[in-house]
Symmetry: C2
Subunit: 244 residues, 2 copies
């Protein structure tokens, strides 16, 4: 049995609030209905309306929107400890689809159960709202990325952001991380073509900043990369617990 303190979600929320034993046991109650899914399947469909959210326990997923012409915009990737479809579950119908990038394990959460937990424990409610606010800050940063940054800057910013997020749940550090994303994922997230993605990655490698090869992102020069794109991770808000 997994010790609850060690779940990625507890690690992540712990960056915001110092969690007590009773907080952790309420959190643990949310993890009851487990579900596994192989890579490349839709967990949630755009337009779905069943008011279920998920906590990602293992693996990577992406959330995306399909346009009428068939093109795809990836909104974000989720890593262990992230909520999936938390806010969409509050709308009548989900505004996006969620697909497994790797084999995944999730815990199903009924929105009703989550709201009951909120009513019992305002401290935990605040922590979950914090996580949702942080997710939205990332979507905003992706909007800035596509709206205002060059292709090289977009890629650098995106891979640095993933590095910071993975570090928070113990899956990466400033030397790099394991990354299952393909050039097609990167293209759909950054508004580039797959060919362009390859060119940009080659440029970053040749400049001695970053190597993405065989499923591993290696920061060859973390500080140089951060300087290139003025990476300011403040919006990820993971510098230490705000509530003691």
């Amino acid at each position: 049995m997994t010790v609850i303190e060690d779940t990625p979600l507890a690690k992540k929320l712990g960056a915001f609030v110092a969690l007590s034993t009773s907080d952790l046991s309420l959190l643990s109650g949310l993890h009851r209905r487990r579900k596994a899914l192989v890579a490349g399947r839709d967990l949630v469909h755009q337009g779905q309306s069943d008011q279920i959210a998920y906590i990602l326990a293992a693996g990577w997923v992406c959330s995306y929107k399909i346009l009428p012409d068939g093109s795809r915009q990836i909104v974000d990737f989720q890593i262990p400890g992230d909520f999936l479809g938390l806010r969409s579950a509050l709308l009548h119908t989900s505004d996006r689809s969620i697909e497994s990038v790797t084999d995944i394990e999730v815990s199903e959460v009924l929105v009703r159960d989550l709201l009951n937990v909120f009513a019992q424990n305002l401290r935990l409610a605040t922590a979950v709202l914090w996580a949702a606010s942080r997710d939205e800050a990332m979507v905003v940063e992706h909007l800035v990325n596509i709206g205002r940054r060059s292709a090289v800057e977009r890629m650098a910013h995106f891979l640095l952001e993933l590095g910071s997020r993975l570090t928070l749940v113990g899956m990466g550090d400033k030397s790099g991380y394991t990354c299952p994303l393909t050039q097609y994922h990167l293209a759909d997230a950054l508004g580039l073509t797959a060919v362009h993605v390859n060119r940009v990655l080659r440029q970053l490698r040749e400049n001695g900043l970053l190597t993405f090869r065989n499923g591993v992102v290696t920061f060859d020069n973390y500080q140089g990369l951060a300087t290139l794109v003025d990476f300011d991770p403040t919006y990820l808000d993971q510098t230490g617990p705000l509530l003691k």
Copy 2:
């Protein structure tokens, strides 16, 4: 004294949940500290950390991020009834700035007071979370706009979205609405130049779809415009109360 049922916020939340007298009186308690600001001033600075949010009672604002090179990406505009900086207030520091587009009136809300209201009334908490989810769905749609749509489609989608939002709070309909935005606001929101904005608006007008002149958006052919960009307002989730 304003009747609370008539505030834009009550109208908006009413689209999600049928509000009782006691719900409305709790809502009203949030409106205590009033503040007025003239057009063109920052209400919240990117990097600010005082954990205050606002409810916009009158006027328009925009939220934006400034990049190190001085360029600006507008994330969204807010209209009466919208929360300002609700999620940013949960982070250590605000991830964006908020500026008044017109003269505005806001009510200050301490995040602590808001969480206390949540604890007293889970129904109202759900309604506010719904509003926050809807705001995030809009940011996602803006990401899709900039990432995947042409300049004409972006403009059409953006002005249709504003129309739907304004309709919800009684400030517009399918014939059009009063709109204080300049070509610079539109440019910074849509990732276009001001010159490009003018060209796109002329094209929409010449095609008999839409006229934006003297601060008024007129839908000359609402259905034609909606068809042009496959506008599906489902993500705005305003078709009727989900909770009775």
